[in-house]
């Protein structure tokens, strides 16, 4: 009798010939997130991954919690692995039912059996019926409810038999590391961490770029971005953060360009620098948290003007979302509470009083032509500080 965790995946099925690559990456990622909890054996069979702890005292609850955050996993179930033998199956199933009833005060249940091992002498329906009857006898306060039971006893009969009662949904998506690399512009607000999370969910490795305007913004703003990265790294399995000094550029723009174009020209500089960093780290695209019309710099016109300075594709996973939808995800992935800390945006110095909502590329180019772009960008890149933030699981 062994305790283990069943890990299910769905989308990887679609990948045909690539499937072994995806499964291999998923197993690697699972091992990485479970690192530190103790020895486990991770194996693959019949479109499942089995995580089997080697010690009795292994913290299965914590492991389950971590696994639900691994992209590529559809659901997990803590289960009991036993010999495929009628007596053993029935004894153990009754014991599990007793434990659950004692812990949760459930009143109704049903049994669901799957028989993959057709050499087992009883049909699935018969197992469910007989086992159900036995449980009713052993636990008189329980009743059967096939439509809406308080809990289900799942019995999977294979070479070994697996019994479990919970199917815990996980994040789904594709295993990180199976779909290239992208560079995320991470501000510290609510949107950009969500955008990064959504792209990482498609199996993409994320690197983050943060533009830092100390002493116009506080050192705590940087700490905040680092803690956002720590939270994201639970999903992205570690994360490189590039901190770009941006004060000089902001001051220059503020001094030399028309006030209503401040934000748009600043965004153009951010995109240019992010693209340089992305090229260096082998990224295939940039990721931003913009959604159409949210603020002046995110109108269709503004997005066209910022996009025009880069050749790389710009991925904007939040483009059609409302703020409340973004907030919901931010809360789910636990970046929200960090994002709303008030340390950034203090600097009204660099906020345009009446930002332009319909900028044009021609004007933006003309206004910024007074700046020594090459030098400014080179200085920013030279001053960039890169830190690696490991998974904080």
């Amino acid at each position: 009798m062994d305790k283990l965790i069943l890990v299910r995946y769905e989308e990887i099925f679609l990948k045909g010939l690539n499937r072994p690559v995806f499964e291999g990456q998923l197993i690697k990622n699972i091992k990485q997130v479970l690192n530190g909890l103790g020895q486990v054996k991770v194996s693959k069979a019949q479109n499942r991954i089995y995580v089997a702890p080697e010690s009795e005292s292994y913290d299965i609850d914590e492991a389950v919690l971590r696994l639900t955050k691994v992209f590529g996993i559809a659901s997990v179930s803590p289960a009991l692995k036993i010999e495929t033998d009628k007596q053993s199956i029935f004894d153990n199933a009754v014991q599990i039912a007793k434990d659950i009833v004692k812990r949760k005060q459930y009143k109704t249940f049903k049994v669901e059996t799957r028989r993959a091992d057709k050499t087992f002498p009883m049909a699935s329906m018969d197992v469910s019926r007989e086992l159900g009857a036995l449980v009713l006898r052993e636990i008189p306060q329980l009743k059967v409810d096939v439509n809406n039971p308080d809990f289900v006893l799942y019995v999977e009969i294979r070479e070994f038999t697996y019994i479990y009662s919970e199917i815990i949904p996980a994040v789904k998506g594709l295993p990180v590391g199976t779909n290239g690399r992208a560079t995320l512009l991470l501000s510290g607000g609510i949107d950009s961490p969500v955008a990064g999370w959504m792209i990482a969910k498609r199996g993409v490795v994320i690197e983050a770029v943060h533009f830092y305007s100390y002493p116009y913004t506080s050192e705590r703003a940087k700490d905040k971005v680092i803690s956002l990265c720590k939270t994201l790294s639970r999903y992205t399995l570690g994360l490189k953060l590039h901190i770009v000094p941006f004060t000089e550029i902001q001051c220059e723009i503020n001094e030399k360009c028309p006030n209503e174009y401040l934000t748009i020209i600043m965004r153009r500089y951010m995109m240019r620098i992010a693209e340089k960093i992305a090229e260096r780290n082998g990224s295939l695209g940039l990721v931003t948290g913009e959604s159409i019309g949210q603020v002046a710099s995110q109108t269709m016109e503004s997005l066209a003007v910022t996009d025009s300075v880069v050749r790389m594709p710009v991925y904007r996973p939040l483009i059609g979302m409302d703020k409340s939808e973004v907030v919901n995800i931010a809360q789910k992935i636990e970046t929200y509470d960090i994002s709303i800390l008030p340390y950034e945006d203090c600097c009204t110095v660099f906020v345009a009083k009446h930002p332009v909502t319909k900028p044009t590329i021609e004007k933006a180019e003309r206004y910024e032509s007074v700046l020594d772009m090459e030098k400014l960008i080179q200085n920013a890149l030279d001053g960039t500080d890169t830190i690696y933030i490991g998974p904080s699981v």
Binding site: Y214, P215, N259, C347, T348, V349, K353
Partner: protein
Amino acid sequence: MADIIYFDNSATTKVYPEVMNEMNRIYSSVFGNPSSLHRLGNEAEKILTESREIIAETLRVSPNEIFFTSGGTESNNWAIKGIARANKKRGKHIITSAAEHPSVLECFNYLISEGFSAEISGTDQSGLLDIESFIEKINDDTVLASFILVNNETGAIQKAEELIAAIRAKNKKTAIHIDAVQAYGKIPLNLKKLDADIVSISAHKIHGPKGCGALYIKENTRIIPILHGGGQENKYRSGTENVPAIWGFATAAKIIHENIEINRNKVKRLKSIVISELDKYFGSGGYFVNSPEDSYEGILNISFPNVKAQVLMQHLEAESIIVSTGSACSSRKNVQSHVLTAMNLPRERTEGAIRISFSGMNTEDEALRFTEALKSIVPKIRYR
């Protein structure tokens, strides 16, 4: 960070080197529990007794009226909750001012949930209590009046004698609590003359350690404990006494009281240097002084038009000059200083308010370097 200019002495202070040495000595050699019956305990108890005598001496009170606590917040909590609860059969009205420290205001808010009627009285333009309307609100049910002696954000000094006399005249049973955390060791505080019932003080504002403070409770004052347990501090404040910190507190108190006049003259001089330099460069209208005329000179609250306090603070910090903002700031929600708001100052003055707080450890050269830094930073960070 050797060259750092520390002008945030109202937030906390640097521990005196003598205090560090003394605490080190107690930590390493007198580490017993004062309640223990063996020799180590006895030695610790002696240190505790001597500390109590030293603190009592600085306030001109009797040692058995001094109770050690974990700091200003605990002292204020104990004073307010302890007095209110002990006297709730006599009356349920308690009163304070709008310019208090949060550890006072939040206790008042909390006591509403225990059925008290907690009243917050307004202040005038200088941040001081409006005495007339404060007295008017006191009635037969008023069991506690609490006020801050030196305001932590503006340095305003409450006219305590006048106020206390007026409270006594209106209701002689009302217990009077003074939050003297910013005043202690900075201005003379003679509790023989000043007729308060209960006074909060703290160690880390006078170059002592953090996590240590005291409450003066006049003999025969009706108060009940908030911490129950082993019965330390004459059964009034349970918990093993933090002997090394208490001794550090006493040592700091001794040093700062020996130098109280020298320090006062020093901070006066620093304030006048800053003001005259700013007058010369920015002129009237180019900056505002939010501290009232006759405030404690060690605290100077100023603002510059069209300058965000936090941005200014961070620019000063980049030049190793540490000050604090009167208000935490964010563009989504401007959290204004409740003290400056209570003073009815316009928004442009509260949003840009920085607090400079000197100590005897600061120098004239530092004050000049500070004003030079302001002259170069402020024009650069004004928003349009």
